[in-house]
């Protein structure tokens, strides 16, 4: 059973050196699934993603990618294994052009990645027109596309997105969610942290409701939306 999971984290404890922020988080999604982590501020959502990607020390618990133990492996080891991560902030190289940003995503690949570039431009058409422009000059929504495109360039099997719609207009939010669904259609698993919980759970295969560093509810997205307890406490009624 456990071998079927794309990523499986069990009983994660850890933090940034002080008190634990994660206190027993469990995350598991299968191939081609979208997992969405929701919860109030300070619940440890972003911290969970960072723990999976080796950006903070997991004190207790295990992380497996495709059945291989990757607990506390550093990012530079995880990218070649098929994991990619898009931070919430400062997620593009502002002084590099859009195309150079995408090329940096393909840094771990030594093969010809021109097909992947074309593929990214078909997923994110606005980027094709701006490929020679500095990424720092783009709008927030387009920067988010560059950030996601950069992560996809390494041909990951799992992409971690930390609040991809933070600070975006509702129009761009819908666009980004559409792209997330499209990414999954291409066979890439997605695990994302999202503030717009209701909208994100609507297309989530699995939802994780975290509170105070622990899973409060874990179910399919639809079931979580339908659950009156979840709705009352975490989805604003």
């Amino acid at each position: 059973m456990s071998g079927d999971y794309l990523i499986e984290a069990k009983g994660l404890f850890g933090g940034y050196g002080g008190a634990d922020i994660l206190r027993g988080v469990d995350i598991a999604i299968r191939r081609d699934q979208i997992g969405v982590i929701v919860g109030p501020n300070g619940a440890g959502k972003s911290t969970t993603l960072k723990a999976l990607f080796g950006l903070l020390t997991v004190r207790e618990g295990t992380v497996q990618l495709n059945g291989t133990d990757i607990t506390n492996a550093p990012p530079e080891k995880l990218v070649p294994l098929g994991m990619a991560y898009v931070p919430q902030e400062l997620n593009v190289f502002g002084t590099l052009t859009v195309e150079e940003n995408l090329e940096m995503g393909a840094y771990v690949r030594r093969d010809d990645f021109r097909d992947s570039l074309d593929h990214i431009y078909t997923i994110f058409p606005p980027l094709a027109d701006k490929k020679d422009q500095a990424a720092g000059e783009l709008s927030g929504g387009q920067r988010q596309m560059v950030a996601m495109g950069r992560a996809l360039m390494s041909e990951p099997s799992l992409i971690l997105l930390d609040e991809p719609t933070a600070g975006l207009s509702p129009l761009y939010m819908d666009q980004i969610f559409d792209r997330v669904v499209a990414i999954r259609k291409n066979g890439v698993g997605v695990l994302m942290v999202e503030q717009n919980a209701k909208q994100a759970l609507a297309f989530a295969d699995v939802g994780f409701v975290l509170a105070q560093g622990d899973n409060r509810f874990t179910d399919t997205g639809a079931a979580l939306i339908a659950d009156p307890d979840v709705a009352k406490s975490f989805l604003g009624g």
């Binding site: 990607f53 950006l55 990012p75 530079e76 995880l78 990218v79 070649p80 991560y85 931070p87 400062l90 997620n91 593009v92 190289f93 502002g94 002084t95 590099l96 150079e100 090329e103 940096m104 995503g105 840094y107 771990v108 950069r150 390494s154």
Partner: protein, 334 residues
């Protein structure tokens, strides 16, 4: 006419020469700052040590009886550049990397580099003493005197062979650096690390490799600048320490972290120095006959006396930073 030629020699040629030296040094300083986030004060001494390496190999080549149409010091320069690059990587490994791995604050790194400065100066003095040394062992420095066939000019435009080599080398470095940083995978990775080290790491960029590349370029160019300057004048153990402050001024004027800003900054500071110490009264000499008698004919008009040359880069620095707080090429903010 003679006055104009004098101006060309003193301001244009000298400015280009010293500007090239500053540019080669400032590129290294700015790259190191961009990637490693600290001001590398030992950079001037990498120049001295690099020139010293070149001098040793030159002496060996001369004693082995090799001769060449260009100065031997220039022929062996690639060897000195490689040796200095290796030294720079070694210094990083022994002194800077352990501090970096502990997450030390930049100011501690700066202090460490001042320590490395003192150490390198001590080592150079220990092995080479304090006297000046010439690169010309059994060779002669070629000096080109180009006559200007206009009017009654008697002076010649004078440029030495090492000066020509320096200017050509700098031009090649600028083109090669541009190609490297904008066209190659490794060069783009360097810019990415300079821009956002955390994102570079999560993209899987090998930051150790980027750090090594930075020291190779910085150390190599420092050795080249030290060698070419020593070829033109002489090699003194304190040669490059005096260059350190103008080089930092050049890197900051250009926008810290911006390699092409550093090159532009190098030439701005270089020309500012030569322009400010030039005696502009010389250019008035042709008009002596028609000078109104009521006003005394000036014999010396310079912006600053030669002794205060070192103050000029800082004047430029302050003026530029008031106008553009992050430098001409919009460098990193603090």
């Amino acid at each position: 006419m003679d006055e104009l030629i004098f101006f060309i020699n003193k301001v244009l040629i000298n400015g280009t020469v010293i500007g090239s030296i500053y540019a080669l040094g400032a590129v290294g300083v700015t790259l190191i700052f961009g990637i490693l986030r600290f001001a590398h004060f030992a950079h001037g001494d990498l120049m001295t040590v690099g020139a010293m390496f070149a001098l040793i190999v030159t002496a060996l080549a001369a004693s082995a009886g090799f001769t060449a149409p260009v100065p031997m010091g220039f022929i062996v320069m690639p060897v000195a550049m490689a040796a200095t690059a290796v030294l720079a990587i070694g210094l990083d490994h022994v002194f800077y990397k352990p501090l970096r791995d502990k997450g030390t604050r930049p100011v501690v790194m700066v202090m460490a580099s001042i320590g490395v400065t003192l150490m390198l100066q001590g080592v150079v003095r220990l092995f080479a003493g304090t006297q000046s040394r010439s690169f010309y062992i059994g060779e002669q420095k070629d000096i080109f005197r180009i006559a200007v066939p206009i009017g009654d000019a008697r002076r010649t435009i004078t440029i030495t062979e090492p000066q020509i080599l320096l200017i050509v080398f700098t031009a090649i470095v600028v083109v090669a650096l541009h190609y490297f940083l904008t066209r190659t995978r490794r060069g783009k990775a360097m810019r990415a690390v300079s821009d956002n080290p955390d994102l570079a790491r999560v993209s899987g960029i090998d930051t150790q490799m980027v750090v090594r590349t930075t020291w190779i370029i910085g150390g190599g160019l420092a050795a080249a600048a030290g060698t070419l300057l020593s070829l033109d004048v002489v090699l003194k153990p304190d040669l490059s320490f005096n260059l350190l402050l103008p080089i930092f001024a050049a890197a900051i004027v250009g926008g810290i972290g911006q390699p092409f800003g550093a090159i532009a900054g190098g030439f701005i500071v270089g020309f500012a120095e030569t322009v400010s110490i030039f005696n502009w009264a010389l250019l008035l000499r042709p008009f002596r006959d028609i000078w109104p008698e009521a006003i005394e004919f000036p014999t010396r008009i310079a912006f600053v006396p030669t002794e205060y040359k070192l103050a000029v880069p800082f004047f430029i620095l302050i003026a530029v930073l008031i106008w553009r707080p992050t430098g001409i090429f919009k460098g990193r903010q603090f």
